[in-house]
Amino acid sequence: MEGEEQTSLWNKETVPKVMKIVSTRLPQRDLISLLLVSPWLHRTLLSSPSLWLAIDLREMNNAGDRLIAAVSLPRYQHVKQISLEFARDIDDGHLEILKNKCLDSLQGLESLNLNGCQKISDKGIEAITSCCHKLKVFSIYWNNLSERSLQLVADHYQELESLNLTRCVKMTDSGLQQILIRCSFLRSLNLYALSSFTDETYKKISVLAHLRFLDLCGAQNLSDEGLSCIAKCKNLVSLNLTWCVRVTDVGVIAIAEGCTSLEFLSLFGIVGVTDKCLEALSKFCSNTITTLDVNGCIGIKRRSRDDLLQLFPYLSCFKVHS
């Protein structure tokens, strides 16, 4: 009988306890596999709510249906993070259903990634803003959203910390300005491949006192004036100015003087900067800069690996943009 007891102990106690520990390291897919292994594992894992705070539907088909099914499950009622990055078959209709049927489960949602979900329009965003009130992280890379969505986000998420608008080409100045004015706690703003904003809008970024990460790749209208205003964001750690072709030494020096905690900087493709700006950067940020991309900066004469290491002793990454 002892053998049976041992086996029983193994199945019902040892393995579930161990799996509970291990499961914190497992991706969603394996978590669900574990659920199906045995009734005791099932029970043990479900009793651990911290395991079920994220729903990962990246690149899946039928994502709309799957999302509704998932959010309807009791174990996801405290979901904090949903990723639908490049998921397919999800549109405004699904979001409407979510709003109508799963209101309670979405109350705690803090992070939503809709990258690449091109069937979602402003209507879908309206559904989201009306049922999720606590979003901190919002990502809509390459989506078909317009200024209206930005307006909605600005209205509802004043505590927003991270916003990714990469390639949302329909975005306008007024929409972004609304965000800048009202989402003053933003720590991360990604405007990669958005070339239509005016310099006036870029100047307004200066109000984001908490900004740490700013991606302005492709900001063709960004001038030295705009960049000097951005330099007021003292806490900036990461700044991408790839292809910001109007920028010269003046702007970069302003950044050097203002953002002394800068760790990551790309000046890729900017022909108007010279060695002067590197000297300034070295003077103010040499202790912190670990990534610096000056490839294609033909105005800078001394930018070999050794030259750069002399100016920035902690430099480890020399390339950002390819």
């Binding site: 799957r66 499950l73 397919r88 990669y192 390819s322």
Partner: protein, 361 residues
Amino acid sequence: MSEVDMAVIKPEMMKSYIWLQTADGSIQQVEQEVAMFCPMICHEVIQKGMGSSKNYAISLPQRVNPAMLSLILDYCRFHQVPGRSNKERKSFDEKFIRMDTKRLCELTSAADSLQLKPLVDLTSRALARIIEGKTPEEIREIFHLPDDLTEEEKLEPLKNTTDDPRIRLLNRLYAKKRKELKEREKLKNVEVEEERVDDRSVDDLLSFINGDNGDSKGIKTSKSKKKNRRRKDQQKSTSANEANKNHSEESNGLNSLCHSSEVGQKIRPSIGATSNLQDVEDDIFANKNEFDDGDIDDEIDPALKEKLDREVEDFARRLNSDWPERMQEILSLGQERKAVHFPLNGNGSVRRYSRAEMISK
């Protein structure tokens, strides 16, 4: 070395020992500095004054049998020595966890009861690597768990009084599953994936949330990693419709080959890479491995550099005349440009984005 030997060789050393008792009743004494490496034992000694003699031996939790205790003490004996380098410790750890899965499991459990977090982290990471990508059946086999779920499939359709689309969906899934099982039974004698009648059956079926159908085999080769990346690139540069054509394997939720495994594989370390003790969580949120490879060799050789400078100059001129279209073109087709070559991974904008996302998280 026994205590007597130690006393003979170094009589002047007053070595302290802690007395420990395992659940089977056996008592042993362990060098103090080794035993105190375990927080639970430390607590018993300091807060309760236990362990100073045989009569006051510290009772260890039931999960710590003599074999496990011996392993744990080996671990403690090595790591409590302050002078060791990180490399030494890592090397020791790698060798230490080479044991069968059952032992690894018991060890995790025992270490957890003694609150020895570094060892729990080490063993649970190893177990996570073992579990990754496995089907429930495979997991049962590995951990010697009985298949005690009900054999018969009892998938009753739910009553759909409100015409809830979710319930319609569920019933459709049940019907499909029933059909699928019938077919499978006809074809083979193999055991079928069972579900329970209780609320679990809902969950199990809704594991289609995961794109799981039980037959998916976990580990894909690096070929599929590349395929996945290329797919992603294509998605970004062409319309969503075109991208859909590439996904030929999708049929319906339940029957589709586990699509999510591809997503996972892209970012999971390969099983068996025992040298990489990196936390699995890190891999989930950042394509760090890909990016880091790039960083190791980020120096462009001079000839290429010159070419790059010329290209940029050229671009700068063209850009000023023809910006908006150029911009879109550059950024969406960046990785496919033949004009500018880079010695590294050509998925510039993909990786770039991943890095950006990683930072912003």
